[in-house]
Symmetry: C2
Subunit: 360 residues, 2 copies
Amino acid sequence: MAAPPINIGIVGCADISRKISRAITLSPNSTICAVGSRSAEKAARFAADNGLPDSTKIHPSYDAVLDDPDVDAVYMPLPTGLHIKWAVAAARRKKHLLLEKPLGLNVREVDTILEACESNGVQIMDGTMWMHNPRTTKMKEFLSDPSEFGNLKSVHSCFTFAADEDYLKNNIRVKPDLDGLGALGDAGWYCIRSILWAVDFDLPKTVLALRGAVFNAAGVILSCSAALSWEDGKVATFHCSFLANLTMDMTVIGTKGTLHLHDFIIPFEEAKASFSASVEPEFNDLVTGWARGPRVVTVATELPQEALMVREFCRLVQRIKYEGGRPEKKWPSISRKTHLILDAVKASIESGYQTVHVAG
Amino acid sequence: MAAPPINIGIVGCADISRKISRAITLSPNSTICAVGSRSAEKAARFAADNGLPDSTKIHPSYDAVLDDPDVDAVYMPLPTGLHIKWAVAAARRKKHLLLEKPLGLNVREVDTILEACESNGVQIMDGTMWMHNPRTTKMKEFLSDPSEFGNLKSVHSCFTFAADEDYLKNNIRVKPDLDGLGALGDAGWYCIRSILWAVDFDLPKTVLALRGAVFNAAGVILSCSAALSWEDGKVATFHCSFLANLTMDMTVIGTKGTLHLHDFIIPFEEAKASFSASVEPEFNDLVTGWARGPRVVTVATELPQEALMVREFCRLVQRIKYEGGRPEKKWPSISRKTHLILDAVKASIESGYQTVHVAG
């Protein structure tokens, strides 16, 4: 018999909560139990606007959600600067945590949050949706196949979008006290995660931010790039920006194969997603064209990737709640590694583009 | 009345000469006049194997081609280390020069060659074929359109191929005395050229090689990466390698548009070539997919790009020979700029990955 669904409370009515409340509804093992905002009015409006079930409890504060005994787990899309307070509070009240990225403003904050989760037996997962797309599994199969891909040599990742004037003035992601990591913590998070994902979360030896980072008047990063290098010769670069046209690329090159995609974070289509796989392509005899080029691999998505994320999170919570299982350590571990690299890039920028050695 | 075709002599029977001899035949303003190799036998075999016209003169040495009064211009695919001798010799004998890249082992050699060409009124062009594909013109139109592309913010270029054991042991491109720039001079040439092309040949302020360059036992570069930055905030990265699967990417991101292609050096097909142009794409309401994604632009190729290169070279030579024109300075100028960056990357690697300031 399937375990009962997990009751999720939404802590904060950010824009992204609209997408996730739909995902919670779509996922077979979760229900929306409560919504809390800084006022009951705001929470009620959110519930009405997004067609949440009538049974959804409306809470006038974040605390009220955390105090609600019916809530098993919370989805928390608060500004990063508030995570240290509210994520720790949630863990202490034994609420499992689906926490938006980045998890904290630095690894110290992240460690505090992760320790609170661990000591309270609480599952934590960051909200990196593309990790849960079945395309991602298929891509990993390709990268892991020695006869198709060979050994990984380099990764390049890019996420840029053109924030408008209002965003650059008012969005939480350009405010030092709210999302102080700026474009690095937001767009760069995805780049770093994609690189680490490609190398099976093997940490690089060095990280170097590249000249040309752009800051706003408050010192928040609006655009930056970095290079990573590994002991065994692997190399990676990434570029992230709030100041350039929407672009989301991942390129992974091995000794035998190449993976390309241009929609790795948000797939072009919800119901299916593709990538390009090129395996030992060849030119024609006179090298005036390709005798064999890349192939397109398309993977159907039974549920949207964010619903699959919720489903996986709730599966882990069900295991803890109903089967006496322990929290899955994979998710906090990769969150922490992503943060280690974020911190290293920031440190490199702050040192005037010096190479930073990464300590695991 | 159209000017008579230009008589081209081929100096050296490298593999690439097969492709170019076909291109000379295809181009309407050129004829193959002579072939010279280190022996008459080798030259005769090349002529027979490639179906060159019976009228083609077979020369037993490079010198004999340069001394042939019927030869207007030479195509010279000799190893880079020999360019300084033979390209200068050609210029002194008033032979126009279609010279394979890289032009020399460093900018000093290149300057010697370019000065010999200039003082002898000789046209020089490097053999970078993709520059002449009509797709390249179409891509430049896209990048130059403020309403479609906006201002250029970043470029990423990559050219890798997996050289086999024999290549890594015996090919001229891994021999310090022949093509001493290795993967940087060969694959990296294309990356650097594509970046400079994208920024209208505006030289960067700084060049930094990235950690992780790979060398063979003789010290020749087999793989490397670099980052470039401009005074106005533009940034670029590239990766080149003989040690990874065949990949040839160019990505150019502006404030409004993004250009992508994965076959920029050798188009997938000879008769047409495509690129992806993305102009202010948008997500759907819940950000679960793209409401508007990239479009594919396809350009027909009336002649293969290498024939278009020969045609353009011969058009310039015809202008000099029949209309009293002067050599076109654009081509040597962009060759030289490409070499300035090659040298800067090499200097950065040799300095232990220090930033190099580029002097125009």
